[in-house]
């Protein structure tokens, strides 16, 4: 090994990467060569001196000064950062903003009665009820019943009030929905030719499965009604103003009178209430509708629905009278079979054995209608 080769290997020797024969050869050379040994000593001294330098500290507050510089970036850099980075922060912030937006929207909706009213008028039927079948609607009002869109005159309530209750027609309005004046029931009962004060005739408890049957019946009743409502609403038709002295009665104190509601609005409200099993308010709205728009194409539906609401409320006397009147006025109506089944069921519910004969008669005359299935069950259970 030459001296030049030996000095070329100093770095490897110092870093410890030299091993095996090269290391032995270099060691032998250093042992033999005083000049290279002195060079190696200088090399080591230089390295040790270099290591003496060590680390140096910047002036105090260096990191804080850097942070200050970082916190004052250029406006364009801030904008780009805000628009693009970082997603892990940006996405949660956007999600929170969306939730807040929804909350504010809901809050504004709740504080806007106009919007709420418009939404309620078009509120969908509760989800548990099946959708109406596509076949022909229950009601097909005559073309003459459709009139151009019009709002009833403000003085209409007094005009449509029955002669038997003039004082009630001019009495101050009471808008409480739960308040049902007795006069309303009495007049309704009298109008249908039935006795009133039948609260005692209500059974103390419904038979097993009665609630389920009632719900099914309500749904069946409502299907064609909805069709009628939708078809009428879609045409924007409003029933004509009723002539003075119409047969139906109005009790202005129970529900909001029609001075600010069109026929569509009243009928839609009644249908929605019936669907929601709010029979008391449905009865009031249907009475108002029949009083103000007796010639409306939906009057038969309203009368059937009114009687069915009484039945649902177990006001059987009024229900019986209502179905009697319905069949008397509209014997050929598509709901006439259903009305006959209802009559028989009401008689059975009030303990009248003649209900069995009526039910058999209805089954023989209308075996294919929807009510026939439940009627057969009732017949086998209650009419031995």
């Amino acid at each position: 090994m030459t001296c030049e080769e030996a000095r070329e290997a100093f770095t490897d020797l110092y870093d410890g990467t030299l091993s095996g024969p090269p290391l032995v050869v270099l060691s032998q050379h250093l042992d033999a060569c005083a000049a290279c040994r002195a060079e190696w000593a200088d090399f080591r001294r230089t390295m040790q001196a270099l290591e003496e330098l060590g680390d140096e500290e910047p002036s105090p507050g260096f990191a804080a000064r850097v942070a200050e510089q970082v916190e004052a970036p250029s406006w364009w850099h801030t904008m780009v950062t805000a628009l693009v980075f970082p997603w892990r922060v940006k996405v949660p912030i956007h999600a929170v903003a969306l939730v807040l937006l929804c909350i504010v929207g809901l809050w504004m909706f709740q504080r806007s009665p106009d919007v709420q009213q418009a939404t309620n008028l078009r509120a969908p039927v509760p989800a548990e009820r099946p959708a109406p079948p596509p076949p022909a609607p229950f009601v097909s009002p005559p073309p003459s019943a459709k009139a151009p869109e019009a709002t009833p005159p403000p003085a209409q309530p007094s005009k449509t009030a029955t002669p038997e209750a003039p004082a009630a027609a001019t009495a101050p309005r009471v808008t409480g929905k739960t308040e049902t004046p007795n006069a309303l029931r009495e007049q309704a009962g009298a109008g249908e030719g039935a006795s009133t004060g039948d609260e005692a005739s209500k059974p103390s408890a419904p038979p097993p499965g009665a609630a389920l049957k009632r719900a099914e019946t309500d749904t069946a009743t409502l299907r064609p009604l909805r069709s009628a409502t939708n078809s009428t609403e879609s045409r924007g038709a409003v029933g004509p103003a009723p002539p003075a002295g119409s047969g139906s009665t109005v009790t202005p104190g129970a529900r909001s009178p029609s001075t600010d509601r069109t026929a569509d609005e009243i009928f839609s409200a009644a249908a929605t209430e019936f669907a929601a099993q709010q029979y008391e308010t449905a009865i009031q709205d249907l009475q108002i509708f029949l009083a103000q728009y007796p010639d409306d194409g939906r009057a038969p539906d309203a009368r059937f629905l009114l009687a069915d609401s009484y039945r649902a409320e177990r006001r059987y006397a009024e229900a019986q009278a209502g179905f009697d009147e319905f069949l008397r006025q509209y014997p050929g109506h598509r709901q006439a079979p259903a009305a006959r089944y209802r009559q028989a069921e009401i008689r059975l519910a009030t303990g009248d054995p003649s209900g069995c004969a009526m039910l058999r008669d209805a089954l023989s005359r209308y075996p294919g209608v929807r009510e026939a299935g439940s009627a057969r069950e009732t017949l086998s259970a209650q009419c031995p």
Binding site: R7, E8, F10, T11, D12, Y14, D15, G16, T17, E39, A41, D42, F43, R44, R45, T46, M47, Q48, A49, L50, E51, E52, L53, G54, D55, E56, E57, P58, S59, F62, A63, A64, R65, V66, A67, Q69, V70, E71, H77, T81, F85, P86, R88, V89
Partner: protein, 220 residues
């Protein structure tokens, strides 16, 4: 004597502490990437000593080195969103520091050359600090005197500045900062063989320059 992979061996022997430091860096980087300036300030505090030391050894002046170190950290902050964690944060930062020091010196040398062509020679009051150190270092040593420790450091620093930037950065990273060949290659962006050859030449040149200043008896 240090091993060729001195830093790696040291890391392995101190693996737990190294892993903890790496995890802490990773956590601070995540927070800084999310916009937490305090987290970035903590990162600066953890690495300021290393960056400043390298900058000082490279440029030879404290104020200048502090400016360079500050620029390094600002550059790192701006590029932080691009750091994906494929390597250690320290490796990534030291690469920025190494390149920035070299670029800074290249720019300063260029400016100095332009100034020299335009200006007349000065009386020495405005001369480059490196030149001043060089002048001190060029003074003939007293043969019978052992340099004080502080003077020795000044001499070493001045002689370091006489090396080329390419040799100097490798020497500083290896023999002062204790980095492994692999880390130096990654930071500077050169091959391992180039690291070894540049390091050897830098050591031999520095040995030759310091030989007159290192007394025989000071060898321990």
């Amino acid at each position: 004597m240090a091993d060729a992979t001195g830093l790696s061996i040291q890391d392995e022997s101190d693996d737990g502490r190294s892993a903890a430091a790496r995890d802490e860096d990773r956590c601070l980087v995540d927070r800084a990437q999310a916009g937490d300036v305090r987290a970035f300030e903590a990162l600066v505090r953890r690495h300021e000593r290393w960056v400043f030391s390298v900058a000082l050894r490279m440029v030879g002046d404290r104020a200048d080195a502090e400016d360079v170190a500050q620029e390094v950290f600002l550059k790192a902050y701006r590029g932080l969103q691009g750091f994906r964690g494929g390597s250690r944060f320290s490796t990534w930062l030291y690469a920025i520091a190494s390149h920035h020091c070299l670029n800074h010196l290249a720019g300063r040398e260029s400016r100095a050359r332009r100034a020299a062509r335009i200006e007349t020679p000065t009386d020495g009051r405005d001369e480059n600090p490196a030149s001043a150190l060089d002048r001190v270092a060029d003074q003939s040593p007293r043969p019978d005197a052992v340099l004080e420790r502080r003077d020795l450091r000044r001499v070493i620093q001045s002689q370091l500045l006489q090396l080329t930037e390419e040799h100097r950065i490798v020497l500083i990273l290896r023999d002062i900062q204790g980095m492994s060949y692999d880390e130096i290659a990654a930071s500077v962006g050169i091959e391992l063989g180039t690291v070894r050859s540049r390091l050897h030449r830098a050591r031999m040149e520095l040995k030759a320059r310091l030989a007159p200043h290192l007394a025989e008896g000071s060898d321990t």
